[in-house]
Each structure stands twice: as C-alpha cells, then as structure tokens.
C-alpha cells in the first residue's frame, strides 16, 4: 500500500446523498479479475450525461472528491475504491461514509475524511465557484485546509499509523502468529468444518 501523509489537489463536488457502490462502479465491471483498469467504469451511468461534473473539462486532473452524505452505501465491492483510485482520486470527503466502503478505502490507501456537513457544504461551494481551488488533506495534522476553511478530522490512531507508513494488514497480523495458533489450539471441536462429509 502506498503511504499517505498529506495531499493537495483540485476537487470534484458531488452533490448527491447516498451514492451507492453500484453507481460508483456498476456490477458488470466486477467481472474483471485484476485491481486496475476500473477508471472508465467510475460513475459510468452518470458520465453518459455531458453535464455530469466529472465530464466538465475544468475538473480534469482533480484528485479530491467532495461527496454528499452516506457515500459508498451498498455492496462490499472493493472495486469501488479501486475505481476511484484508478481514476486518480487520493481522498474523498463526506459527512458520512458507509462502513464497508470506509474500511476498504483505508485498507487501500484512499483517505476517506469525515467532516461536518456544514464544512462539506462550504468546501463544495468553494470548489463549485472556483474549479481551480485546491484542498489540502493533511493526515499528519489530521486537518483539511482550503481557502476560508480549516477543519480537523478524526481518524483512529491505528488506521492513521498504517496509512502514514503504508503498512499492509496481513504482515502486521502475522507478527502475532503465535496468538492465532494458541486460539486455534483451544477452539472447541464442535465448531463447523467445511471438509466434505
């Protein structure tokens, strides 16, 4: 995983609530067996509309998505995170994320930042008015900065440490292999097993 310390970039305002993972990446894209090449599937249905914000030339190269509340609801598909990353997004800001999406994003180094709806509104207004406006997402300081806006955000220390160092979970867990083995040794025999009966 790539480390995330601080990022500054132009933003895309997405004023919709409840953007579900089927909108982020439609199901037919899920047939791919790789982690890359999802950028064209991102918001595929909406991108057919030339007015859609992502199609506006001034949004090209933007790296921060400022989304409405309850972003990423629906299915557990990690492809939604890959699609956002493949497209070039480094951070998504919203007042509320769906749990699984949030977990997936943090595991892949896409920083999801939770801010008050008021602050999200202010950021959306700012970048709607001025497409060149930049937003800084600073994980060191746990702070989002833009013209007229300085807001701190919360992220649990463990996730922050992993993101700052770009560490992957499996190697962290395997440092505690002996704990797993100890648990397995005392696990009751009546627990289910999948071996064919």
């Amino acid at each position: 995983m790539e480390a995330f310390t601080t990022h500054t970039g132009r933003a895309v305002p997405l004023r919709r609530s409840n953007v579900d993972t089927d909108q982020i990446i439609p199901a037919h894209w899920l047939k791919k067996v790789t982690r890359d090449g999802f950028e064209d599937g991102l918001f595929e249905a909406w991108r057919k509309d030339s007015e859609f914000v992502l199609n506006q030339p001034e949004r090209k190269g933007a790296t921060v998505l400022v989304a409405g509340p309850d972003f990423g609801t629906g299915s557990s598909r990690e492809h939604a995170v890959w699609a956002l990353q493949n497209y070039g997004f480094k951070a998504v800001i919203s007042s509320r994320f769906a749990d699984i999406f949030r977990g997936n994003s943090l595991k892949n180094g896409l920083l999801t930042v939770v801010l008050d709806q008021k602050v999200v509104d202010a950021l959306q207004e700012l970048v709607e008015k001025d497409p060149q406006a930049e937003i800084t997402v600073d994980l060191q300081e746990r702070e989002v900065r833009a013209e007229g806006v300085t807001a701190s955000f919360e992220l649990d220390e463990n996730s922050r440490w992993r993101l700052l160092n770009g560490l992957d979970d499996i190697s962290i867990t395997l440092r505690n292999e002996s704990d797993i083995a100890a648990y397995e040794a005392k696990r009751p025999a009546f627990k289910p097993q999948t071996v064919q009966v």
Partner: protein
C-alpha cells in the same frame, strides 16, 4: 454488567486484544464466490502465502452463473473467465468448491445455512455485503472487502474495531399476509439507510421469536440496507431444530456440547444496548419501495410521496432524483404501478418457504399478459426440493419461467436483466439505479406481493386477488 449477544460472540473470538489496536478476531467460516476473490488469491500468490485453514473455507459460484442452459459453456466470455479463475484458484489452494451443476451450488448465503455450516456463536465472513444473513443463527456475520478476504485466507483472522449494539425489538403479531420482508422494509424505512451504521443490530421481541429460520434470514439479510454490517437473532429451539441433522451440524456428544453452548448465547437481562428501536408488529402492512434505495419504501396502500414533504434538503433531492429515475409522480397510488417483470429469488427470498408461498398464490392462476415472471431458486438444492414438491409445475402452468439457481436478476451480472425503462417487482434486496440492468426500475417486495403482482400486472398483495377467479378444477 451483563453482555449483549453480539458482545458474547465477539469476546469468544478475540485472538488478541491490545491497547490502541483493533481486536484481532478469529473467523470460523469463510465463504467465497467468484466476484470478490480473484484479486485476493492473486495477492496470496504474489506474497507466497497459503490458505491457512482450508477446512474453514468453502466456495461456490453464484453471481455470474447463467440460469438457463447450464450444461453449455458460459456465453459471456468475461463471466467465464471469472468462474474459471475461481476454479483454478480453488484447485491450486485446496479450497472446497461447488461449481455450476453441483447440487450444493447456489447463492453463497443460501448454501452456508443449508449445509449446516452456519451455526450459532460463529463468526462468518464473505466478500459480500449480504453476509449479514447468517446472523439469523445467532452468530456474527459480516461482509468484507477483497483485501479482507485476502487477510482471512492468509491468517483466518480479521482486525476489527468493535461496533456498537442496537436492539430492534418487534413485539406483537404480524397481521395475516405480512411477512418478514415487509417487516425489514418497514424497519429500514423507519431508521433509514444509514440508521444502523456503526452498529450490530439485534432483532428481538415476541414477533421475531415466532419467525421461522428462513424468515429470520430474510430479516438479517437486509441489515446492511439499514447501514449495519451485521444483524443477529438469538438462537433458540427453532434454530436448533433447523440445524439438527444437517450435513455439517455437530453430531452425538458434540451436538449436546454445542447446544449447551448455544443456549448461553442470549443478551443478559441487565445488558445495555447503545441504541434501541421499538416496532409494533400489529401495525405493519405489506410494504414496497418506490425509490432507488431500500429506505424509500411505504405501505402498499399508500401513494408515491411528494419530495417537497421532506424537510432534509439532501433527502428531498434524493427523492426527486428517485421519482425521476423511477418514472413516477408524487401522489400516484402504489397499487396502480404496472410492472413488466416479476423476479422471485436471491439470498433474501429465494428459499423453500418463499417458493412455497409464491406457488400457493400462483396455483390455478395465470401470470398477467405482458408480464414476465422469473422464478430462480436460491440454490440448486432448493431447486431440487421445489421440483420434488411439484412447485416447478405450478410455476410453469401459471406462465412463469422456472430457472436454475444463482443470483440472477438480483444484480444482473448474468443475462437475466431488465431492459432500460423496464419495471420490476423483485423479492431481492436492492433497488439501486441500474441494479437489475441498465435503466431498469426496481420495486422491492415480499414473495407474496411478487406473486400477486405477477397475476394482476400491477403492485398488489394477495388480498387484492379475491376477485380473480382460481381456474376451475384446481
């Protein structure tokens, strides 16, 4: 202080707990399917890792599989590659797989319980958000992403922060014709699609205790649509009776030990939930969705709501967008909405009880002209049982299509899809834009409402059928 059911199951699975870290939980059962596993197996391969516990891992094919001509090669080359990838991975890593054509193949959340693998007090994960289904047995079951699939394959554990707990107490008696599906749709409409976020839901109360296992699965299945990753119901005699004798249920003295443990899995009287919701079962009615998220629902007797009636600006906007997409106008009675397609199936309502309920209504009646009714069993075994009971004949005589098992039109990854602008009444769990096919419009309903809708051609409940004569001689 006492503990809730969720807390008990959680505590029993903590492999490691340390200050400032999420708990490391042991996973009892890992279910795999073709869509969310290829990148995880790739990750293992790249890191030179093995599957730690193949004996706690099982795979099936469901999302991409065709429901017709299953003996022929899969026509869509991309779907075929995904299924072949799973087959290769399962063989290479030694994972048990039930492929298309196998009697245990089917939707992953139907297969686990049916084999008796899903048990009380277990942790169950799968790279699929509807894993919450398995919580119906009193275990902790949640959907995970592909990175976590890889993590569980490699370590049989998952680091997780403990969610809060929410009690949803449903007391009283569900009125005649009101099902578990109506109940869960009403719950989601009440608490909202984000209402359960950060919580494990525990459904309890006298109305829940009266439900069959299959109905409990329908409820827990849709916990995710309320934003909760997991939903659970305390195990009781109904649970034990369902499990006894299933292929993977414990046997002999192990059964007795297991039951003794399972009986301890209830929320203590003095336990405190972080949030509580109360619902009166007696006040519920058949419930359908009108919008494009599962929280946008109303009783069938109501009308399409007016977006202007929403105080919250983003909700109002969402409602406006939904009506536009759904091609509906405010004030239109829900009962007058005509459909082109009826879909019965999915991990929400693709089990035997659902098929029996549909057959009972379709028996001696006909699917309305111009309506396509698709009936897809949740698993090959459910399909087999339905044929043994002669349900397939009832469906076919009524003019419905009887298919092979899989996710099918629930998400339209296989050829079973809505055409743009087509409208369905569907027993599945998601009415998102394009979920059942690009431009398709979905109304979520119970199997009973689906069947009555098929007969009448517009959203309807079985009670509306009283004036449709049953064909003579039946």
């Amino acid at each position: 202080m006492g503990r809730t059911l969720a807390e008990k199951v959680w505590d029993d699975h903590v492999v490691r707990r340390a200050e400032g870290e999420p708990d490391l939980l042991f996973i009892d059962l890992h279910l795999l399917h073709e869509v969310t596993s290829p990148q995880a197996f790739d990750g293992l391969r790249q890191a030179g890792r093995k599957v730690r516990r193949t004996d706690l891992t099982i795979a099936t094919e469901d999302h991409n599989t065709p429901t017709l001509d299953i003996d022929k090669p899969i026509a869509d080359p991309v779907s075929r590659v995904q299924l072949e990838t799973l087959r290769k991975n399962a063989a290479e890593f030694g994972v048990r797989l039930h492929s298309l054509g196998d009697v245990e193949q089917g939707v992953v959340h139907v297969v686990g319980p049916q084999l008796g693998l899903t048990q009380p007090g277990t942790t169950v994960v799968c790279g699929d958000s509807h894993t919450s289904t398995h919580g119906a047995f009193g275990g902790l079951a949640f959907g995970i992403g592909t990175s976590q699939v890889e993590h569980v394959l490699a370590t049989q554990t998952l680091p997780m922060a403990r969610p809060k707990t929410m009690a949803i107490t449903v007391d009283g008696e569900l009125p005649e014709g009101v099902t578990a599906k109506d109940l869960i749709l009403a719950i989601i409409a009440k608490i909202g699609t984000g209402g359960g976020q950060g919580y494990i839901l525990e459904y309890r109360g006298s109305a829940i205790e009266k439900l069959s296992m299959e109905a409990r699965m329908t409820i827990c299945n849709m916990s995710i649509e309320a934003g909760a990753r997991a939903g659970m119901i305390a195990p009781d005699e109904t649970t034990f009776a369902y499990l006894e004798g299933r292929p993977h249920a414990p046997k002999g003295t192990e059964w007795d030990e297991a039951v003794a443990y399972w009986k301890t899995l209830k929320t203590d009287d003095d336990a405190v939930f972080d949030a509580e919701v109360f619902i009166k079962a007696d006040e519920l009615a058949p419930f359908v969705t009108w919008g494009t998220n599962p929280g946008q629902g109303a009783p069938l007797s109501a009308s399409v709501p007016d977006p202007a009636s929403y105080e919250d600006a983003s909700e109002r906007y969402a409602a406006e967008k939904a009506l536009e997409y759904m091609g509906l106008t405010a004030g239109q009675p829900l009962r007058e909405i005509k459909v082109d397609t009826v879909f019965v199936g999915s991990c929400t309502n693709g089990r035997m009880e659902d098929l029996r309920a549909v057959a009972e209504i379709l028996k001696g009646r006909k699917v309305a002209d111009g309506v396509r009714a698709l009936i897809v069993p949740g698993s090959a075994r459910v399909g087999l049982l339905a044929v043994e009971e002669g349900l397939d004949k009832v469906f076919k005589e009524a003019g419905a299509e009887w298919r092979y098992a899989g996710c099918s039109m629930c998400l339209g990854m296989n050829p079973d899809q809505l055409a743009p602008g087509e409208r369905s009444a569907s027993t599945s769990n998601r009415n998102f834009e394009g979920r059942q096919g690009k431009g398709g419009r979905t109304h979520l309903v119970s199997p009973q409402v689906a069947a009555a809708t098929a007969v009448l051609g517009h959203l309807a409940s079985p009670a509306d059928l009283s004036d449709v004569p049953v064909a003579a001689g039946v």
